[in-house]
């Protein structure tokens, strides 16, 4: 049973979950779990996925962050969004603010580090997928 970092009712936790059978864009059908690459173009049909995973080819590849923002803000996807692949514990907080609510990491130590730093600041300069609050809006 895989262990991962998951946001449950607004709180991030390390938990065990049932294995998901991810399908590629070619194999995928409505109601099943869809895994896409970071260069995929979001399609309205994805709203019917039981869960969506974005696979990062490298810790430095920020395309998955933009794709997540588009899924959340443009497509209106509100289901589970999973970060998989070369995901790094020290980037978890960026993933969280781009709308991911599940983060896969290879071992307990990395999960704990990611959890410890999932929200490193008490406030942020810009609004994000998960919060309209920002330093820029404080003046208004």
């Amino acid at each position: 049973m895989p262990r991962l970092l998951k946001k449950i009712h607004g709180d991030w936790q390390i938990c065990d979950v049932a294995e998901i059978s991810w399908k590629t864009q070619e194999e995928w059908r409505a109601g099943s779990a869809l895994q896409v690459s970071v260069d995929a173009e979001p399609a309205p049909g994805w709203l019917d996925a039981s869960s969506i995973a974005i696979e990062f080819p490298a810790m430095t590849d920020g395309r998955g962050l933009s794709l997540a923002v588009l899924l959340r803000n443009r497509l209106g996807y509100s289901g589970e969004l999973v970060a998989r692949g070369s995901v790094h514990q020290d980037i978890a907080h960026f993933l969280a603010r781009c709308g991911f609510d599940v983060i896969e990491l290879p071992d307990e130590e990395r999960l704990e580090t990611a959890l410890r730093w999932i929200d490193p600041h008490t406030g942020y300069y810009q609004p994000s997928v998960i919060s309209r609050e920002s330093a820029l809006n404080n003046a208004s």
């Binding site: 260069d39 920020g62 933009s66 923002v69 020290d90 600041h121 003046a139 208004s140």
Partner: protein, 557 residues
């Protein structure tokens, strides 16, 4: 200048805490070299040829006397008593210990400074006109907009992991001293500082130097400034998603803009921007007013121009006269001047300043100039608001500590990267070349006769020394393991009131010992061809590159 509030202070302190934890995990072996690299870069730490190098952000080149004193202390406590002013208005320390960096960052945070995003593939320190808020030719102060962009781009969750580094420059003056045409995004603000919310912005994209120098394309004109952030977001998103990631030499936004064509890129950005809820994301007018208030002019005294006094002082002291001619610039307020303190003294690496010099500049800023200091991309200090009757005293003090050199804008005021002496990317040394040229052209009358001449030196094609936009550019290249130098002519960064232009390579590269002779030949051709009062650049524009080529590469008879 901008004053941190509790939010900003919490932010930088929390960032230091996070980085301290990352450093500890690296030192314990929990983070690999490769993993830590990405994290330390985003906190300003490189590992260079000889030691780590920490690049401290000086947002848009503005700092207070208190902050400069803190930089001086840091250079004494953690480095070797000096710092280096970079071509992007930052300060670099060349010898910090990796394990000390969290403490250095805390010392910076204590005076409202940081090193966030000064390296790595993310949005870097926003740069601007070093005379902002003081220049006589300024329409609108660009700094509130720079601060807006600084805040927005700091730890932006979506744009921290771009294909490559990303540089934004902003100007609000007639003469573009920020070189907006050679940045990933260049922004021209049109309007007045009294009504910042009514400003309109022109946005250029895809400019840059480096291996493939390109001038930015104008992709949006007269955009209401409240949309500045959402439009920038649209550009960043298109770049983040479609910029190349397979080859770091083709990963800058200029390559994407070229591949799509400027029109194609603009269409894609406009389509993205249309899909963003840009009214919801608009910058509130109150926020623009709040930021602008920080940059309100200091309480200038009602002064008269000190022409008569200065006239006497200049007659009495020829060295002061030279300095007045080259290093003192018109201020927008009567009775005040803008002063450039040159770091380009022969024998000192361009941009290097000692802690004593930093302390001295801070004290002059306090005594004469409202405690304000600027760093220019020409790697000099600027004191933006000096009463004219204090100029002579200031100059005497500056001259006593090696900061009173008269060469601002002259051939010896070259822009120069640290080159092969320090940088692990460099193909060739740049500092000895700079010094040799300064020695060859040391004679004041000769330099003065040559007039404004931008000579820029880069130790490799990454072009940190901006060689493409020097009137004379020198680029270090590696030829089968030997250091050679390629000379280009006729470039400029746009600060003469025209659109910037890239220099033309004059011919095959030359050995280091030949560089000075080649530069001298270039100068000779100019002197032979120029009309009375014609600058090097105008003369080059008129006669073209051929006469220079012929002189440099003439076969011995």
């Amino acid at each position: 200048m901008y004053q941190y509030n509790e939010f900003d202070r919490n932010f930088v302190n929390q960032r230091v805490a996070h980085y301290r934890d990352q450093t500890e995990r690296y030192l314990q072996g929990d983070l690999s070299e490769e993993e830590f690299l990405q994290l330390r870069l985003r906190n300003g730490l490189y590992v260079q040829r000889l030691a780590p190098m920490l690049r401290v952000a000086i947002p848009y080149g503005t700092l207070s006397s208190q902050q400069l004193r803190a930089l001086a202390s840091i250079s004494n406590d953690f480095d070797r008593g000096y710092g280096h002013l970079s071509t992007r208005q930052n300060m670099q320390f060349n010898w910090p210990a990796l394990e000390d960096v969290p403490d250095i960052l805390q010392a910076l945070a204590d005076v409202d400074m940081h090193a966030i995003q000064t390296s790595g593939s993310c949005i870097r320190n926003v740069t601007t006109d070093q005379f902002a808020g003081a220049a006589a030719d300024e329409d609108i102060d660009p700094r509130p907009f720079c601060e807006l962009l600084r805040q927005w781009s700091t730890s932006h969750p979506e744009f921290e992991w771009l294909p490559r580094k990303f540089k934004i420059a902003v100007t609000g003056a007639t003469f573009d001293r920020a070189a907006i045409g050679v940045h990933d995004i260049g922004i021209r603000i049109n309007g007045s500082s009294e009504q910042p919310e009514n400003a309109l912005v022109d946005i250029y994209a895809g400019g840059g130097l480096g291996r493939t120098p390109v001038l930015g394309a104008l992709i949006r004109e007269q955009l209401p400034v409240k949309h500045l952030l959402t439009y920038t977001e649209a550009i960043m998103r298109v770049y983040n998603r479609y910029g190349r990631r397979d080859n770091k030499y083709k990963a800058r936004i200029k390559i994407l803009v070229r591949a799509l064509t400027a029109e194609g890129f603009k269409a894609q950005v406009d389509e993205e921007w249309a899909a963003i809820n840009h009214e919801q994301g608009a910058v509130p007018a109150a926020e623009l007013s709040r930021l602008s208030a920080f940059f309100a002019p200091p309480s200038f005294a009602e002064l008269d121009n000190a022409g008569e006094l200065l006239g006497t002082q200049r007659l009495e002291n020829p060295a002061f006269n030279r300095w007045m001619k080259h290093n003192v610039h018109p201020h927008r307020v009567r009775g005040y001047s803008v002063v450039t303190l040159s770091t380009k003294t022969t024998g000192m690496p361009p941009g290097d300043v000692s802690s004593d010099q930093m302390d001295a500049v801070a004290s002059w800023a306090d005594s004469y100039g409202f405690g304000e200091i600027r760093i220019s991309h020409e790697q000099n200090f600027v004191l933006p608001h000096i009463p004219q009757d204090k100029l002579y005293g200031l100059w005497q003090q500056a001259d006593a500590v090696g900061l009173g050199h008269f060469n601002a804008g002259l051939i010896s005021d070259m822009i120069c990267c640290p080159g092969g002496d320090y940088c692990s990317l460099a193909n060739a040394k740049s500092l000895p070349v700079a010094e040799a040229i300064q020695r060859r052209f040391a004679d004041y009358d000769y330099q003065h006769d040559l007039g404004n001449l931008d000579l820029n030196i880069s130790g490799c094609m990454n072009a940190c020394g901006h060689h493409h936009v020097g009137h004379i550019g020198i680029l270090g290249v590696d030829k089968k393991g030997e250091e050679f130098y390629q000379i280009s002519l006729g470039g400029h960064a746009g600060h003469s009131g025209e659109s910037p232009r890239l220099g033309q390579i004059v011919g095959p590269s030359v050995a280091r010992e030949e560089v000075c002779d080649v530069i001298e030949k270039v100068i000779q051709v100019y002197l032979e061809h120029r009309f009375v009062g014609e600058t090097f650049l105008s003369c080059f524009n008129r006669i073209g590159i051929l006469p220079f080529k012929e002189s440099i590469y003439a076969k011995a008879a």
